[in-house]
């Protein structure tokens, strides 16, 4: 039996029953479209998080105090008397002998919901009190003006570099702002620069922020006991030395805080850790949503089985005739299997197109809402869902096809 002829025959039958065929494949179309769209959005989310994390630099470590377990190590020990991080800690880490993997260290004081006002406008913003190393570690850039220098840090200067959104909120513009005054927490600061807009990002580095010298912040904006700091950003000499730097930082911190391995009162995250964690969360979500979508594929398969059974009943006489002129059971089996396979494959292909459209339009909606999400339809997901729908067609086609093949020719010919 020439397979080409069988396929053409199947197509002509499906085309002959347009409405029924399209309703039958609808389930598969929806299932495949949902799977494709879910996988594309998941992949897109992963890409945007990965890129926003790596835009910070893959060689950055974040040191914070607390006893929650580090990413990756599942142990959670309750540590009492958690010591806060201090400026002295930051200085100790910036030691090329004990921590040769560390390139730069930036202690940070930060607080959200700080009032900011200028030109009669008022809003709230996030304040970062930092040292000059912060700018290079975070690869911050200005669209105008400059960052403060070490001298200004030592002088407790009241200077500020503000984010683009904050500038727009307070002044209605992002240029010609150098030299303007801004009141932060009631204190007057002089604007010396405006940060380049970064857009939305998974790391919360929104454009609504103010960066001031850490010394001034401690004096006037963010009160902390002694020389406590909130976080310490550490830059490793390269992405390759990040894990070594992490070990060195741990060793130094354990010594300084007199704690044993396993009961640390500080946490070190690297951007790689964050990236991995974010990826695995998104993966789980994607698999979960994709799995739900796959259920509709199964339902679609049952729809195909239903229609194929109807088709076998309707065409009993045809089956009888085909057998009378010499069709073997296998020929009939193949004929009906190919019909359901063509149905499901067609549904799969249309579903891929639909899913693509859905993914692209969700991308548009997301970018219209200001979120950088570019869904990416991968070749793998196309192959996977097409193969899966073909498998569904085959699986649910087997029963009707076997039924057709096992009809007795005499009985089949007698049917009206």
């Amino acid at each position: 039996m020439k397979i080409r002829r069988v396929i053409l025959g199947a197509l002509s039958i499906l085309v002959g029953n347009k409405l029924r065929s399209s309703l039958t494949i609808l389930g598969i179309v929806i299932g495949v479209a949902a799977v494709i769209a879910m996988l594309a959005i998941g992949q897109g989310a992963q890409n945007s998080i990965t890129s926003s994390i790596s835009s910070i630099g893959t060689n950055v470590l974040y040191l914070s105090s607390g006893s929650s377990p580090r990413f990756g190590s599942g142990t959670s020990t309750t540590v009492r008397n958690i010591r806060p991080l201090t400026m002295a800690d930051a200085q100790a880490l910036n030691n090329p002998f004990q921590a040769p993997g560390v390139l730069a260290v930036a202690p940070i004081l930060t607080s959200g919901n700080i009032s900011a006002s200028a030109d009669g406008q008022a809003t709230t913003t996030t304040v970062y009190g930092v040292t000059t190393d912060y700018f290079s570690i975070r690869s911050e850039q200005v669209s105008e003006g400059a960052f403060f220098n070490n001298q200004q840090v030592n002088d407790h200067a009241r200077v500020a570099t503000i984010g683009a959104d904050l500038a727009t909120t307070l002044f209605g513009r992002t240029n010609n702002l150098v030299g303007q005054s801004i009141r932060i927490n009631g204190q007057t600061f002089t604007i010396i620069g405006v940060l380049k807009s970064k857009g939305g990002s998974a790391m919360g580095s929104s454009d609504n922020q103010v960066i001031i010298p850490i010394t001034t912040a401690r004096d006037r904006v963010i009160r902390r006991a002694g020389d406590e700091v909130d976080t310490i950003y550490i830059q490793a000499t390269s992405a390759n030395t990040a894990s070594q730097a992490s070990t060195q930082v741990s060793n130094i911190m354990r010594m300084r805080h007199h704690v044993a391995v396993g009961s640390e009162d500080f946490n070190i995250f690297s951007s790689t850790d964050l990236q991995q964690t974010a990826s695995s969360i998104i993966n789980i979500l994607t698999i979960f949503l994709g799995g739900i979508a796959a259920i509709s594929l199964l339902v679609g398969g049952i729809g195909i089985m239903n229609i194929m059974l109807v088709s076998v009943t309707e065409r009993t006489r045809e089956i009888g005739l085909r057998k009378a002129v010499g069709a073997r059971n296998r020929d009939i089996l193949i004929q009906f299997l190919i019909e359901s396979l063509v149905l499901s494959l067609l549904g799969g292909l249309i579903g891929v197109l639909f899913g693509w459209l859905i993914a692209v339009s969700i991308g548009w909606v997301a970018s219209a809402l200001g979120t950088a999400l570019t869904p990416s339809v991968s070749l793998n997901s196309i192959l996977l869902s097409t193969l899966f729908s073909a498998a569904v067609g085959l699986f649910f086609g087997i029963y009707p096809a076997r039924r057709a093949a096992s009809l007795e020719p005499v009985e089949a010919l007698r049917t009206e």
């Binding site: 002829r5 002509s12 005739l321 073997r328």
Partner: protein, 227 residues
């Protein structure tokens, strides 16, 4: 000319209907020579359709021997029976049994698709259609043809694999008497031209009268009489 193409010995067919066994054939023996035209008649319920299914290899006898054109048929598998139907038997049915969605040519090609022969297909199908006088109707679908023309397509389909036996089950039953006679003339002409054995099941005495011999079936047994 005396070669025997159908040799049936003591064919029995018993159907189980629930608890009761129904004897459709009670031991039928018959022989048909190559090139013969034989009519099988009998009242309805006599078992002639059952006999036709068994002789046509569509069904198996419960017991008995059946030799068709030199091949022992009893005890063959489904696939072997399918192959015999394809090569040795051409069927013409009362209700034509054409596939409505394909052309006359496509219908005639159908048996070729199941034959193990390579693609000599189109040519043979066209020859068969020409032999039944439908060379101008090849591309037409059955719905565009008259009843007589549809039955001629069915005859062409039965002939296309050059079978040893043509079995016609009430071939004129759905036709008016004029087209019915045309079909009979066609079948008889093909019989003379190709030395094809012709087995006609009918209860129309005018049709049976055109056969060389009539076998009457009654209550699953043969009542043979020579004409």
């Amino acid at each position: 000319m005396d070669e025997i193409v159908i040799r049936a010995e003591a064919l029995k067919k018993i159907y189980r209907m629930g608890e009761v066994d129904v004897q459709a054939l009670r031991g039928i023996s018959l022989q048909v020579k190559r090139g013969e035209v034989v009519a099988i008649t009998g009242p309805s319920g006599s078992g002639k359709s059952t006999l036709m299914s068994i002789l046509g290899c569509l069904d198996r006898p419960t017991s008995g021997d059946y030799n068709l054109d030199g091949e022992q048929v009893a005890g063959l598998t489904d696939d072997q029976l399918a192959s015999i139907r394809n090569r040795k038997i051409g069927f013409v049915f009362q209700s034509f049994n054409l596939l409505q969605r394909i052309s006359a040519l496509g219908n005639v090609e159908l048996p070729l698709g199941y034959a193990n022969r390579p693609d000599e297909g189109k040519g043979r199908a066209e020859t068969a259609l020409r032999a039944v006088g439908l060379e101008n109707r090849m591309k037409h679908r059955p719905t565009e043809l008259s009843g007589g023309e549809q039955q001629r397509v069915a005859v062409a389909r039965a002939l296309v694999n050059e079978p040893a036996i043509l079995m016609a089950d009430e071939p004129t039953g759905n036709l008016d008497s004029k087209s019915g006679q045309e079909i009979m003339d066609l079948l008889l002409r093909l019989n003379r031209a190709g030395n094809t054995t012709l087995l006609i099941i009918t209860h129309d005495p005018r049709i049976a009268a055109q056969a060389q011999r009539t076998i009457v079936i009654r209550d699953g047994m043969v009542e043979e009489k020579m004409l």
